[in-house]
Symmetry: C2
Subunit: 143 residues, 2 copies
Amino acid sequence: MPHCHTYLKKLRDLGYRITPQREMVIHIIAHSGRHMSAEEVTEEAKKRSEAINVATVYRTLDLLVENGLASKLDLGDGKTAYATGEHGPHIHLVCRQCGCVTEISDGDISVPLRDIEEKYSFDCHPYHFSIHGICRNCRERTN
Amino acid sequence: MPHCHTYLKKLRDLGYRITPQREMVIHIIAHSGRHMSAEEVTEEAKKRSEAINVATVYRTLDLLVENGLASKLDLGDGKTAYATGEHGPHIHLVCRQCGCVTEISDGDISVPLRDIEEKYSFDCHPYHFSIHGICRNCRERTN
DNA sequence: TTGCTATCTGCAAACTTTCGCAATAAGGAG
DNA sequence: CTCCTTATTGCGAAAGTTTGCAGATAGCAA
């Protein structure tokens, strides 16, 4: 299971600088074990008696996403959620109506990512990959 | 291939009202055959010599997304793109670095959506479903 | 056609996210 | 340890998106 240090090392290896702000953001989302909005991360960071700016939080989160260390998720609540791949590769079933997210393990289903990689030279990030649709509750409520 | 009327009928069947603003938005994105930002849709609508508000455009686009008639896509350029399933179901390969989108037909790859539907009672929307990763160009530039 | 009612729109304000720029500081070289 | 270079931060402003509310109107019933 990847740890803060793993993320930090990966960033360092990629040539990025390790700053207290980045350490803090990584620590927070890696240990939360859930999806967090940029605002939540910022609040959490400020609790740790350190000043950190919202813009920096956004930049750090985007940095992690760009390098495949975290993923962005639109939960349809007007905010964007971020999460690390801390609890292993999985697929998100995102409901378009209520925005709820069901996580299923990628072992449950075999998406042939390898085929895509070969055919399109596209390097798929296995963590957090989303399928949109309507969840059972919403469907039942509508019927 | 779905047409404006199909979308309008679907909305009406779902109990929504058909307003000139909704017709306009649907007409615009269904005929564009590409991804459009909310701003582009608004501009286009205003060209058609009708007043329409940005808030209404957002609300209409979200309505379409919630009902599986269109999809939202984060292209990483600070704006959200919307598109109908006009040109058939397909998969988006979204690059996390440059934000470019490669569309591949769902015939190229068989994502076992049916399995997910059965196992999780989740009604997958086949149109526009995204896989994130790194495109060939960005990978080559990095190496 | 007319009237009714809940839905929808426009507006303005609030909120979320991005950007430019000057100041700061990480990390390597000496 | 000190200096240097350049990436990174914080700030304020701008851009993009959502929300609450009052007024307008689609669609139904008569």
